[in-house]
């Protein structure tokens, strides 16, 4: 790439903005590096700050297909990597039995039969019977893909070990077939909600991006991009209110996705400015726990006042 890194990074920021994803410099730098160094990005951060969305947008930006692997407890290689088509394999053995008669016809003695059997082409373990799962698909795709491994912390620790080979070498070993290398190296994005600590081995192989809650300026830009029909004054009030909320001691702090939902709700209600009553009646969009709502109810006057000033 002939352009300087700073220029390319600015391009990424702009390109992402076109797809309604407003990113900080950190984020676009991460995408740039991942692309340049062909390294996976591990994204951590509280839920709802746009970790998964980043992968979606990256796929749109690079015009590549997005393959998504949602992790959960008990996820194993048969769901993530590949699986044999057992049904077809069993049928194949049935056909084989019939064919066998012809192959062995006229063979004298056990030795000759065996020799003929050895010459016979065996495709029991071959790609025809291989069912690709997301990880293998992303390696075999010739156009290049964006591979999203979502919530990798939800999977078991053993699963991480499975990922190591793919993430550092972009290849997988299938015992029956040998090593499969990537045709085009995919852009890999892993996300984690920190429900458990990710192993060092995995972390070492990734660029590590932490997306925190955005500051007021960035959040306003995001709202502007996602909910363009909102009035300027309401947008400022709303963002200030949410920023104030994040300073309270709540069970679950509202993330960007909640702010966007809230903005959409307020638009739906035809609001031009944030009043106390309005805030109180729509709190349940922002907060997901009754306890939190109870706490915030008392704080609403103060927060609304603050966002007015």
């Amino acid at each position: 790439m002939s352009k300087g890194p700073a220029k390319t990074i600015a391009d990424i920021t702009k390109g992402f903005a076109k797809h309604q994803y407003i990113c900080s410099e950190q984020i676009s730098t991460a995408v740039y590096l991942a692309n340049e160094l062909e390294k996976p990005i591990l994204i951590e951060g509280p839920p709802g700050v746009g970790k998964t969305e980043l992968a979606n947008t990256a796929a749109l930006y690079y015009k590549k297909a997005l393959l998504r692997l949602q992790c959960y407890e008990g996820l194993d290689e048969t769901k993530a990597l590949y699986e044999w088509r057992y049904g077809k394999q069993l049928l194949y053995t049935q056909i084989l039995k019939e064919q066998m008669q012809e192959v062995l016809e006229g063979a004298k003695g056990l030795k000759e039969s065996l020799d003929r059997l050895m010459e016979f082409e065996d495709i029991f373990f071959s790609e025809q019977f291989l069912e690709s799962r997301p990880l293998l698909k992303s390696l075999t795709s010739s156009e290049g893909t964006v591979l999203l491994i979502d919530e990798v912390d939800k999977a078991d620790e053993e699963f991480e070990a499975l990922l190591l080979e793919i993430l550092s070498e972009f290849q997988v070993s299938i015992p029956e077939l040998g090593v499969k290398k990537a045709v085009v190296k995919p852009l890999v994005i892993l996300t984690s909600n920190n429900s458990r600590e990710i192993g060092d081995a995995l972390k070492r192989r990734c660029l590590h991006l932490y997306i925190p809650f955005p500051d007021a300026k960035l959040e306003r830009e995001i709202i502007q991009a996602r909910v363009p029909e909102i009035s300027k004054s309401l947008q400022i009030q709303l963002v200030d209110f949410v920023q104030g909320l994040r300073e309270l001691d709540l069970k679950k702090l509202p993330a960007i996705s909640e702010t966007i939902d809230w903005a959409k709700t307020l638009i739906l209600l035809n609001a031009d400015e944030l009043s106390q009553e309005l805030a109180k009646s729509t709190l349940n969009v922002l907060l997901k726990h009754q306890q939190d709502i109870d706490v915030v109810q008392k704080e609403v006057p103060r927060l609304v006042m603050a966002s007015d000033g």
């Binding site: 890194p5 700073a6 990074i9 410099e25 950190q26 730098t29 991460a30 590096l33 340049e36 160094l37 390294k39 591990l42 951590e44 194993d76 048969t78 699986e83 044999w84 057992y86 394999q89 069993l90 053995t93 620790e157 060092d200 972390k203 070492r204 660029l207 590590h208 991006l209 932490y210 925190p212």
Partner: protein
Amino acid sequence: MERVLTDFVKTLRNVNIRVSPAETLDATEVIEKVGYDNRELLKNTLSLTLSKTPDEKEKFDTCFDDFFREKLSSDEIPLKEVPDLPTDQTANSDLAQHLLSDSYSDMELSISKAGEEAEIREIKYFTQRAVFSRRILDIMGVGKLEEELSLLGQANKDGLPSDLEQKLRNELTHLRERVSDYVQQQFLMHGDVTGEQLREQVFKSMNMGQIDRSYLHEVHSLVRRMAKKLANMHSRRKKNFRRGKLDIRKTIQDNWVNQGILFNLRWSYKKVDRPKILVICDVSGSVGAYARFMLMFLFSLTEVVSKIRAFVFSSHLGEVTDEFKGGNLEDSIESALSKYGGGSTDYAHAFSDFVSLCIDEIDKKTTVVILGDARNNFGPEKAELLKSVYERSKQVYWLNPEGKYRWNTGDSVMNTYSAYCTKVFECGTLEQLERVISTLLKTAI
């Protein structure tokens, strides 16, 4: 320029950001791409490659700002011409001229040059700061300057220092301050790491009773790390369990030899064989401090041992499991110790409480761990209670924080009780404790 990066990595390691060699290589590759010109860009990229938790990111930011402020300023500033002195006397030594030229950044440059010559990177302990300051000053030529100053002093007839001498003396004092600041800064960068490791080493091998309370927080994080290491070592002991979901893939593969008739079934569920551990801690005055660390350790191990119950006693015994499972470990230990601790020890009473409380729960999978010095204040021993526990359980471990030579002296009845223990350990330091718990996990699981 690679030297700069390795220095920076060293600085990061100093503040406990763990950077592996592979990550350093990544960083070199990254720098090749982005260069050193754009500070923000450099910071972002290095942060992406070198720091891997939110906590580390925060540390990284301060570290980066500290490190590259100093570095960049020393690289950028060009040398200045020394202006002429308007006085009748002239300064002869290089350093004196240097000082009088009065360029702040210029001085900074020569200090760091002298620092490199003095091998400031090798600084390890804070007591070495004075030595290094002296060495740097020597290299810069303070000796000559001092000679010159004394000559100047003698030349003065009226006993008052001349303007030049006064000025030089002021500058010299100023220089000393700056050198000691510089050394301090370098010490924080290069020296602290060994300091920290040293401290941890000391904590590990120190008698737990002697560790001052003000270090509790540090020790706690150390204990947590030790516990995590143990947990990692032992958490993989799982065994196949013949119940649960059928693993079709494996079943068909394994039965291919039987012409596809599913003969041997394979199961996909594994079961973690979690042991039960009951811990009884003496929290009377003499052993309270040990109990604190023991409990810290065990409750940091919940990843591996989910079924752990803790009891504390000095005379009567009570269960404290729920308090520990809940929240802040340090607070719960404190409250447990204040609730049960302090009294005089009565093992007989404690054992009878324990037996009546949970003898029914002890089975052949249970490990009972007793922490205490077996000093019974010459009270009744009631060893038969311990015997009944021993017979029902898988194993009974006794950890005695006292040195072996003190067992069975005075009111200690270690011998009587050790008859009904699978193993008896001396356990006075964190290191010993780590070893004991490792053995415990090996045998308990």
